[in-house]
């Protein structure tokens, strides 16, 4: 079973179209194995990306070096999934 221990979901907010393009570039970096939950649309809309634990540093450095604002929407995805699983099992009893 695939787990997501340490994976984070980042909510990224672009200030302008230049930053939007930089986020789009990030999305296209296949080596980072990003899972785009909500992709680049316009400046008004945030971008949500699940980042594998082992690539968190690279992604955060990229965002910080470009002065792109982001927050951690989900701190540890697996913790949330474990809670979900536990609730399902409890409810089924």
């Amino acid at each position: 079973k695939e787990t997501f221990v340490g994976d984070q979901v980042l909510r990224i907010v672009a200030k302008d179209v230049v930053q939007l393009a930089l986020i789009k570039d990030l999305e296209d970096m296949v080596e980072l194995e990003l899972d785009v939950w909500m992709g680049v649309t316009d400046v008004a809309s945030p971008v949500d990306i699940r980042v594998p634990f082992y690539n968190l540093q690279s992604v955060k450095i990229y965002l910080e070096s470009q002065n792109i604002e982001f927050s951690i929407m989900i701190e540890d995805l697996q913790m949330l999934l474990d809670e979900e699983q536990e609730k399902m099992e409890l409810a089924a009893r």
């Binding site: 939950w37 949330l80 089924a92």
Partner: protein, 312 residues
């Protein structure tokens, strides 16, 4: 573990496995034989039935409304909402005048688990799975994005040609049995007047097109109906939705469901992106299932009511 004995004791406030949802469908049919029947419109790649609930008060080949949930398997709130909608339809028929009027003239088809292989996979192997489960020859990556696999601008920008991508369009249009089964059903039915495909998340109600900037012929009507639908939705909990064409509201996406249905002549073609709390994405806590379904139902009713009152 205790199986619910009937659809009244089914727990709508929690997520359920595929077999539990299949059992729910059978119970609903058993309890309401004069209103609900189950059709199997095809099989998934792994051989699971593609079940569609038909809500009908009689007649033959009546005009109809199609609703599907869960084509992207990991968006669990959509399958859960679909289950709630099914119960809502049988509960409200004969009680709610608007729904009763719809069902007295039209049929409603509801496919709760549109991508059962993917859904099963999210429960057993990978909670983040969104595609189908058909292997791609020559690639170690499995599956196709079933919302890029339709014959509407297929292969254009806004879909990937790489089998490892989450938006892989597939080798050809309608290559996925989960998609082809709906295509065949829609074509053979020939009288579907509204088609609503439900996704999560990001709170949007969208109409065609996604593959081209050319506005659809009915843009003005679709836009005003979308506005009415999201206003009704917001009346319950204040959830705010954006609305517009796919390409103008999200991004260019080729090969998507409702672009194909619109091109088939189904004027009221819409796709929802359900609730986003801003904290969980589509991993929505189970206590939000019912509120999400309740508010979405108001928007669905707006679209279905309009479809009934504006025949074409």
């Amino acid at each position: 573990f205790v199986e619910p004995r009937d659809t009244d004791s089914f727990d709508y406030n929690n997520y359920h496995t595929l077999s539990e949802i299949y059992s729910f469908q059978d119970m609903l049919v058993d309890e309401n034989p004069s209103l609900v029947s189950k059709m199997v419109i095809g099989q998934s790649y792994e051989g699971r039935p593609l079940n569609v609930l038909k809500f009908s008060t009689g007649g033959s080949n009546r005009s109809a409304i199609w609703i599907d949930t869960g084509i992207h398997s990991r968006e669990w709130v959509t399958q859960a909402s679909g289950t709630w909608f099914a119960k809502k339809i049988v509960t409200d028929y004969g009680r709610d005048p608007a729904l009763t009027a719809i069902l007295d003239k039209m049929d409603i088809y509801l496919e709760i688990v549109t991508n059962p292989d993917g859904f099963s996979y999210t429960h057993t192997r990978n909670r983040m799975w969104r595609k189908t489960r058909k292997p791609n020859p020559g690639s170690s990556c499995v599956g196709v994005d079933p919302n890029r696999n339709w014959d509407a601008g297929f292969g254009g920008p806004g879909a990937s040609g790489s089998s490892c991508s989450e938006t892989y369009r597939g080798p050809k249009a309608h290559s996925e049995s989960e998609v082809k089964s709906i295509v065949d059903f829609v074509k053979s039915h020939g009288n579907i007047k509204a088609f609503i495909s439900i996704h999560a998340y990001s709170q949007m109600l969208l109409y065609p097109y996604g593959y081209t900037r050319t506005p659809v012929r009915d843009q003005a009507k679709l836009n005003s109906l979308a506005k009415k639908a999201i206003t009704d939705l917001a009346s319950l909990y204040g959830t705010r939705y954006r609305y517009g064409s796919i390409i103008n509201t999200i991004y260019q996406a080729s090969g998507s469901t409702i672009d194909w249905t619109y091109n088939q002549g189904i004027k009221y073609s819409y796709t929802f992106e359900l609730r986003d709390t801003g904290r969980y994405g589509f991993i929505l806590p189970a206590n939000q299932i019912v509120p999400t379904a309740q508010e979405t139902w108001l928007a669905l009713m707006a679209i279905m009511d309009h479809t009934l009152k504006n025949p074409y």
